[in-house]
Amino acid sequence: MNKNTKGSALANYSQLLVPLIAILLLVIFNLFRDPSFFSVGITTNNNGDPVLQGNLISILNGASELVILSMGMTLVTAASGGQDISVGALAAIAGSVFVKVLKSQGGAISPVLVVGAFLLCCAVAMAFGAFNGALVSVFNIQPMIATLILFTCGRSIAYWINGGATPTISSPIISAIGSFVPGMPVPTPILIVILMGIFFALLFRFTTLGLYIQTVGINQGAARLNGINAVGIKLLSFILLGACCSVAGMIGVSRLGLINHETLLINIEMDAILAVAIGGNSLGGGKFRMLGSVLGAYAIQALTITLYAMKVPSTDVKAYKAVVIVLLVVMGSPKVKETVERLRKRAGGKRPAGAGKEAA
């Protein structure tokens, strides 16, 4: 009994090992390549405000949308045992709604309007999330197939909302959301990620949602027999992911004050799924650790920034990325884990006999 709990605690901990090792390797590699890689300094931006600057800040800041999406993706993966591939398209829809509302008052952008725009884009994204969720939970369609619909047509819907390519908005409030609040040297997207993290931490701390999601993911029938509304839980996980999409879309739009329905968070669905996988979460659903996905997302962003800093030729970037990802995924695979576990046990067995006796 004692041994079992020890083992599962270790397993729990080892889940974070892969993303942590990935980040650590990237850190060591970069420190060897360029010792000043992680130096963070303070400069004055063109608005005259002091701001933090450096590769570390670029990584934390640039990963914001991916981190937020991978939080939601973790929930969907855990509850439904499948992935939502429409998150990029849904973020583009949310961003378009955000811009549409902001442009509705003929250019005058007030704080109230921004809040209203966010609430509306959040509601729209949650509705689309509910649509995806309903297909998955009520109609029992494979999540990847169900979300393929929105993946295919989402960016066209985003185009219809505003019409025309790349509508722009400009306002101090928007740049405060997308880059810096005057007087605050930390980029706002990083702060938003922290807020989202606190939100989910509180949600799991004070509700049983986390447990319910795991239960539904592990065995839907058993969950239902125990009085858990499996359909509702799955639906809720998709709605929460929808909310994450709206936040990511809002940040993406606010960074530059521009929405390009074709390129906003393009291909991010694959990175979000990858973050969940690198984070050691089973893509087949069940137990999950959101922190793992978050670390996975930062590892992916750190990799991208490293490749930029190394000036890898544009034609080769994807190949380099693929090599690293293959290594990470293999490192986290059950087969390797098993082997490592076996080697560890064997090494442990050869250690002082006294320790073995004690355990026995």
Binding site: T43, N46, G164, L256, T315
Partner: protein
């Protein structure tokens, strides 16, 4: 009973032909096969250009078909031939597979014009092609950059999606300068048209503390991303700034950045081909011959490039894309 129905049907058919016959008398029937306007800002401007030129007031009865798929475009072209259009205007989704349709058109005596994109086929099969020379766009931009006579050129080059026509055309001229040693490549990286990615690339250069004084972004969105990185790092840019900013496409909002002096240059691949084609059709209708074609029967559109110091509000209204 059957006879009566047959006679009635024939009568109906004859009647339905009358308006068509009338229409054919005074209006030139034109079928336009194009890519959908949602494809890009460029395409939207292109589509609107054709709609505004081929109007009834200008003497045309025009039908439009949009698809990004070659096979759908092919069947639409066949339908236009069956409908008996006088001229067929095509911007093909793919360069191959058009031979049979173009031959049908030729046999039916329909004049074919290609615009924006070439088709791999015998030049005998079409009257003329109005196309852009993508390389010319890059040449124009790089020539402008050289004309600034900066003491040194340390260039951050942000590329579009690798292998696309626009990327190849806009990259070529700059690559020549890098090879010749007249300009120094600080970084050359693709952001695949993604604005946010362009910002990250420029950030990584700023963080490496390498000096640079030119940003050559292959579209407006990526230039905007690059400028956002400069703004956050407190680096001045534009007409009186430390860094020269160059973009492409000439969106209206981008030209306004030029007018405000935040950027230095914006190049354009001209989406305006309708008037040139309309002029050629009028020449043919008047019994004349089309002049000014090269061996491949092409007319190369003249590409624009705007310098922030010379740009006017009027230019923005005339040449700017989008709102």
């Amino acid at each position: 009973m059957k006879k009566i129905i047959a006679v009635a049907l024939v009568l109906v058919m004859c009647l339905s032909l009358i308006p068509a016959a009338f229409a054919a008398d005074d209006l030139i029937k034109v079928g336009v096969v194009n890519n959908p306007p949602s494809e890009s800002g460029y395409r939207e401007a292109n589509v609107n250009d054709f709609i505004s030129v081929f109007t009834e007031e200008n003497g045309y009865d025009a039908s439009f078909f949009y698809s990004i798929k070659n096979d759908e475009q092919l069947s639409a072209a066949r339908q236009f031939i069956t409908d008996g259009v006088d001229y067929l205007l095509i911007s093909a989704a793919e360069t191959t597979g058009w031979d049979a349709v173009l031959k049908d058109a030729q046999e039916a005596g329909i004049g074919v014009f290609l615009f924006d994109r070439m088709i791999d086929c015998d030049p005998e099969l079409f009257e003329a092609a109005v196309v852009s020379d993508m390389a010319q766009e890059g040449d124009t931009a790089v020539a402008w950059l050289l004309s600034l006579e900066l003491p040194e050129y340390n260039v951050i080059h942000i590329q579009g999606a690798m292998g696309s026509d626009a990327q190849l055309g806009r990259t070529g001229a700059l690559d020549e300068q890098f090879e010749a040693g007249t300009m120094t490549k600080v970084v050359q990286q693709t952001a695949t048209w993604d604005e946010a990615e362009a910002k990250k690339i420029v950030e990584s250069v700023i963080n490496s503390k390498e000096p640079f004084n030119v940003i050559y972004a292959e579209n407006d969105g990526m230039a905007k991303g690059a400028v956002a990185a400069l703004d956050e790092a407190g680096i001045t840019h534009g007409v009186d700034g430390d860094v020269v900013v160059m973009g492409f496409d000439c969106n209206k909002w981008a030209l306004r950045e030029l007018l405000a002096g935040n950027w230095n240059y914006d190049g354009q691949c001209s989406p305006f081909q309708a008037q040139v084609i309309s002029d050629m059709i009028q020449t043919l209708e008047a019994g004349g011959e089309i002049e000014g074609l090269n061996e491949a029967k092409q007319i190369i559109s003249v590409e624009k490039g705007f310098d922030a110091r010379e740009l006017t509000e009027e230019d923005i209204a005339t040449y700017g894309l989008g709102e």
